[in-house]
């Protein structure tokens, strides 16, 4: 990112606006909420009205308020889990690629073994055994996701490590730290940033899945994914209720991806084609 000024495009503005809106909700959601988190205010699945712009949920609670409260958990859990998975997966993946040999085989096969069990099953076992609390939830998702990040980081680093500029550095006698920090990571950034955006969105949905099974965010606390699941029977009766939290997830996902696309536009390729 060496001092290049980036031109704002229409899509970048939309993406930045969506992220900014989510950031405000994330930071100040409960203050903005007109009603309490657990207040029962009317009949379940009441249609949107003047007092309740997004209607009521399956228990007759204000949908808008619950979504504003839910933002902290939804975004916070995903962000922390993805952050954790990257801070584990990237260094290990790059290390495996540079060291190669036994180190690489041991690490890669371990990751393969973990990945051979469906993520949901692994998560269920861990959460069942340790009980579901937020730290356990975040660490479990972060660890399981780091296997995917490891594989991406490893394959990227292998490609870069085979480039001649990396060979020049090795022949110069550079150590591991320089190789990772100066030669490999800066050139692996674009695909990693894109992956971060995607992983963030996947984690959202994964937390929703766990919540549905009773192992994610625990009631009465709200998270957007869980709210979709809780209100899903509404769809059968042609009600709006589940669409609102789903739309919130979709908008954040689109916002993140628009910004990621914008950040990556005009970047050099890994191959150093400098286009």
């Amino acid at each position: 990112m060496a001092g290049t000024t980036r031109k704002f495009t229409l899509t970048s503005w939309i993406g930045l606006a969506l992220i900014a809106a989510n950031l405000v909700i994330f930071l100040a959601g409960p203050l903005l909420a007109p009603y309490g988190l657990e207040e029962t205010l009317g009949t379940p699945f009441a249609a949107p009205s003047a007092e309740h712009p997004l209607g009521l949920d399956q228990n007759g609670r204000d949908m808008l308020s619950r979504m504003l409260y839910g933002a902290q958990l939804s975004i916070g859990v995903s962000l922390l889990a993805v952050g954790l998975s990257f801070s584990i997966g990237v260094p290990l993946g790059v290390l495996a690629a540079i060291r190669g040999g036994v180190t690489d085989i041991a690490m890669s096969r371990t990751v393969d073994a973990i990945m051979s069990v469906p993520v949901l099953i692994s998560a269920l076992v861990v959460l069942q055994a340790l009980g579901s609390s937020l730290p356990v939830l975040i660490i479990t998702i972060g660890l399981l996701d780091s296997t995917r990040v490891f594989r991406l980081a490893r394959i990227l680093a292998q490609g870069i490590n085979a480039m001649e500029y990396a060979e020049v550095a090795r022949l110069r006698g550079e150590g591991l730290v320089w190789m990772i920090r100066k030669e490999i990571l800066p050139n692996a950034m674009p695909p990693l940033v894109a992956e971060f955006g995607l992983r963030f969105c996947f984690t959202f949905l994964f937390v929703a899945g766990l919540s549905y099974l009773g192992l994610g965010v625990q009631p009465p606390f709200a998270d957007w994914g869980g709210m979709v699941r809780d209100n899903q029977q509404g769809i059968l009766y042609g009600l709006y209720a589940p669409l609102f939290p789903a739309a919130a997830i979709a908008l954040l996902t689109i916002g993140v991806n628009l910004v990621v696309d914008w950040l990556l536009a005009g970047r050099t390729t890994v191959q150093g084609e400098n286009r």
Partner: protein, 537 residues
């Protein structure tokens, strides 16, 4: 003046614009008569490939034909619709690319790919197309023409694949061929063979062609007329002989002079040479059981330039990698400055790593795209010599001056440099280590002729000023002649000849050296005829 009916291709005031608005080709007009070959000459970025593709009514990567007329056998392409243009491509005009390997579908047999165009365009029925393909295979002297088409692309050699691509281009009997550097990727000995067959086949069937190349000597053998291009504009056009013997434009004169200069021997500075710096004694090496270097012995004195020449697969690059420490010898001894040299760079001490530096063929991938020129050159200065602060900045400035780049280039990323400038930065990075030996692996192969000459001059200057020792790996004999005092010729992993360059060029001893030397195209137009006649005897 040409009869209108006789013109197969006519381009008027062609203007091609890139998506970012840059004008790639501006105001080009040309005419091609039936059976005529027009050579388009110029360095990269001159717009020669763009003109070739525009002749087919095509713009690559979003490039747009913004103005002018292109008339192909009576049909105006720029005004006609997509379906008309597509009907012409492959049928009336066909394209031959530089890399045949990339032009063929690896999962399809050759014959199916070759008869596809004529059958698709409804020019011929499948049996007719097959019969014509066989005739082309015979004309192009492909081995076992009847069964050649049954092979897959990976089952034939590079030269054969290039000829198969010629057959594919001519499959629908087009009026015009666009030949884009069709022999550049081939070894010199294969190149003349393909070149001669290409020319004879086109002559036999009266095919016209736009022949795109950067190599004046190659185009001299095949083109009736030449158009010299620079920055998308025409520099001069004329009969091949006139342009080569009496170039009018200054730029053409420089191109011709460079090519002629390359055929003259190097300045005769036969330096005495110091003590032996690098010695290989009966070294063999290879990858996983495959022996690539076989019993190689050579020695290099301080201040000397030793060229290692050979075709692809001769083991010359493996030799460079072995000296650099990227490959350990399986047998034999390597000594450097009187001491035994460890096989792997991992085991070498920092002093040995510092003393042997390498410059690569492709400066694009040899520079980290995320490090500025300054960072790139400064790293060896701090790493090997511990320079900091003002001393570092002074040394950096001196190195930039040495390679002929202004100070403010230090802040640029490699993406903002031209190919020649990138190679200069690579040289500066190597020099920053104050090495004793510089391994140059095909350092000029990816550069345009005039730029390559600048780089060679720079290397020569550095040798005079700093007493550098070069191990120069190349397939280009003209480079050898201009730079090296001594030359080693390699074939299939063995050294076939090791002598002073001047002697080697005058009286080549090994048969392979003779073949290699006479395969280098000369600027004379009758060179190809001469050499083919000599070989026929």
């Amino acid at each position: 003046m040409t009869e209108v009916a006789d013109r197969v291709l006519s381009i008027r005031d062609l203007r091609v614009v890139a998506p970012n608005g840059a004008v790639l080709v501006d105001g080009i007009s040309l005419d091609l008569k039936r059976g005529e070959v027009l050579g388009l000459i110029g360095e990269s970025g001159a717009g020669k490939s763009t003109i070739g593709l525009a002749a087919m009514g095509y713009g690559r990567g979003g490039c747009r034909i913004a103005g002018g007329q292109i008339t192909l056998t009576g049909t105006e392409l720029t005004q006609s619709g997509k379906s008309v243009r597509e009907a012409m491509r492959g049928a009336r005009i066909a394209y031959v690319a530089q890399s045949a390997a990339a032009a063929f579908d690896p999962s399809m047999r050759l014959d199916r790919q070759i008869i596809e165009a004529p059958v698709q365009h409804g020019v011929m029925t499948a049996p007719e197309a097959r019969a014509w393909m066989l005739e082309l295979f015979r004309a192009l002297q492909l081995p076992n023409p009847e069964s050649f088409g049954l092979r897959y692309p990976h089952q034939v050699s590079g030269g054969q694949l290039q000829r198969a691509m010629m057959a594919m281009a001519m499959a629908a009997k087009p009026d015009v061929l666009v030949l884009d550097e069709p022999t550049t990727a081939l070894d010199v000995t294969t190149q003349i063979e393909v070149l001669a067959l290409l020319r004879d086949t086109m002559r036999r069937y009266g095919t016209s062609a736009l022949y795109i190349t950067h190599d004046l000597a190659v185009v001299a053998q095949i083109a009736d007329r030449l158009m010299v291009l620079r920055h998308g504009k025409e520099v001069e056009t004329g009969a091949t002989g006139e342009v080569l013997q009496a170039p009018k434009a200054d730029y053409t004169r420089r191109l011709v002079a460079e090519r002629e200069g390359s055929l003259r021997p190097a300045r005769g500075s036969q330096k005495a040479g110091g003590e032996v710096l690098l010695a290989l004694d009966r070294v063999s090496a290879g990858y996983s059981g495959l022996t690539i270097l076989n019993d190689v012995s050579l020695s290099l004195r301080r201040g000397e330039t030793l060229a290692v020449v050979g075709e692809s697969g001769s083991g010359k690059s493996t030799l460079a990698r072995l000296v650099a420490g990227l490959l350990s010898p399986a047998a034999g001894r390597v000594t450097f400055a009187g001491r035994a040299l460890e096989g792997s760079y991992r085991k070498r001490g920092i002093a040995d790593l510092k003393a042997i530096q390498m410059i690569y063929q492709l400066p694009d991938v040899a520079l980290n795209p995320r490090q500025s020129v300054g960072e790139t050159i400064a790293r060896p200065l701090t790493f090997y010599r511990g320079l900091k602060g003002t001393a570092l900045r002074d040394e950096l400035r001196q190195l930039l001056a040495l390679i002929g780049l202004p100070d403010d280039f230090a802040d640029r990323l490699p993406g903002a440099l031209s190919g020649g400038q990138k190679q200069r930065v690579c040289i500066a990075r190597a020099l920053a280590a104050q090495p004793d030996l510089l391994i140059c692996d095909e350092v000029t192969s990816a550069l345009d002729p005039l730029i390559a000459e600048d780089i060679l001059n720079l290397l020569r200057k550095l040798q005079d000023e700093l007493g550098m020792t070069y191990l120069f790996i190349t397939h280009d004999l003209s480079v050898v002649r201009r730079l090296a005092e001594r030359t080693v010729v390699m074939q299939k992993g063995r050294i076939v000849e090791d002598r002073p360059t001047a002697d080697l060029f005058q009286t080549p001893q090994a048969a392979y050296t003779r073949t290699l030397l006479e395969s280098v195209p000369e600027l004379r137009q009758d060179w190809l005829d001469d050499i083919m006649a000599r070989r026929a005897r």
